[in-house]
Subunit: 130 residues, 2 copies
C-alpha cells in the first residue's frame, strides 16, 4: 500500500506544496512545530532515511538546502534546523524547522494549530522565495 | 580564530574520532544525548549548515550516511536520527543520534555522563563497523 506521503505526491491527499522536481517533493507539515515547518521527501518510497542511495542522499540534501534557504528568507528565525527521526510515517522525510532556541526541536511539544488560510499564506511566501 | 571543531580536526583538542576523509570528520559528542551520539563536520569552517556549497552538502550527507550505518550496527536503537541546529558552535555540524522514541531528540534534556573508557569503547565499536 502506498504511504501517506506517496498519496500526497500523487495528489490523492491535498497538501500545501512548497517545491517539487523529478525526484523530490516539499510540503508543509500540517502539525508544525513552527510556522514554515516543512517536510522534504524522496518521490521514491523508502522507509529508512539512511537506506537512500548515495545519489538520493546527495540529491535530497541539495534540494532541501534550496527549500531551507527560502524558509529562512521568509519565516523569522535564527536558523532553519533539520531533523530526521523516521519513527512514524514509513517514508523517509527531512523536517526543516525554523528555530530560535535549543528547545525548538522537540517532537513531544504541542504542535501549532494553524488555519487553512494561514497554511496557504505560509506556503505561498516560501514558494515565492525559491 | 579557529573554531573549537577546527582545533579538534587539527589535533589541538583531543576527541574520540570515528571517521575522516579529505573533506569531512566525525567524532563523538562529549555531551551525548545517547551512547553513540556523533558529530559530523566539514573540515572547511562554515558557520551555517545551509551555507555549505551544493558539493559540500552532497558530500557531507553521503559521508554522514556511512557513519550512521556504522552507528546503527553497533549501538542498540530503532533508528539513527539526524539533527542540525547551529545555535552554539559556529562551525556547521550534523548530530547523528541513536533514537527509540520521539522525545529522544531534545537538546534541553540532561546529557549522559560517560567515562573516558566508555567513550573509547563506543568510538572503537562504531569505527570498526565502518
Amino acid at each position: 500500500m502506498a504511504s501517506i506521503f506517496t498519496r500526497i505526491i500523487n495528489g490523492e491527499i491535498p497538501c500545501y506544496k512548497i517545491a517539487e522536481d523529478d525526484h523530490y517533493f516539499a510540503f508543509l507539515d500540517i502539525n508544525p512545530l513552527a510556522k514554515g515547518h516543512t517536510l522534504v521527501i524522496p518521490k521514491e518510497e523508502t522507509d529508512y532515511y539512511f537506506n537512500l542511495s548515495d545519489e538520493q542522499m546527495a540529491g535530497i540534501s541539495v534540494f532541501a538546502k534550496k527549500v531551507a534557504k527560502a524558509i529562512g528568507k521568509t519565516m523569522p528565525c535564527k536558523r532553519v534546523g533539520v531533523a530526521v527521526l523516521g519513527l512514524e510515517v514509513p517514508h523517509a522525510h527531512i523536517h526543516l524547522i525554523p528555530i530560535n532556541d535549543l528547545g525548538d526541536i522537540n517532537f513531544l511539544k504541542p504542535k501549532l494549530k494553524l488555519t487553512q488560510p494561514e497554511f496557504t499564506e505560509i506556503a505561498e511566501k516560501i514558494s515565492s522565495a525559491l
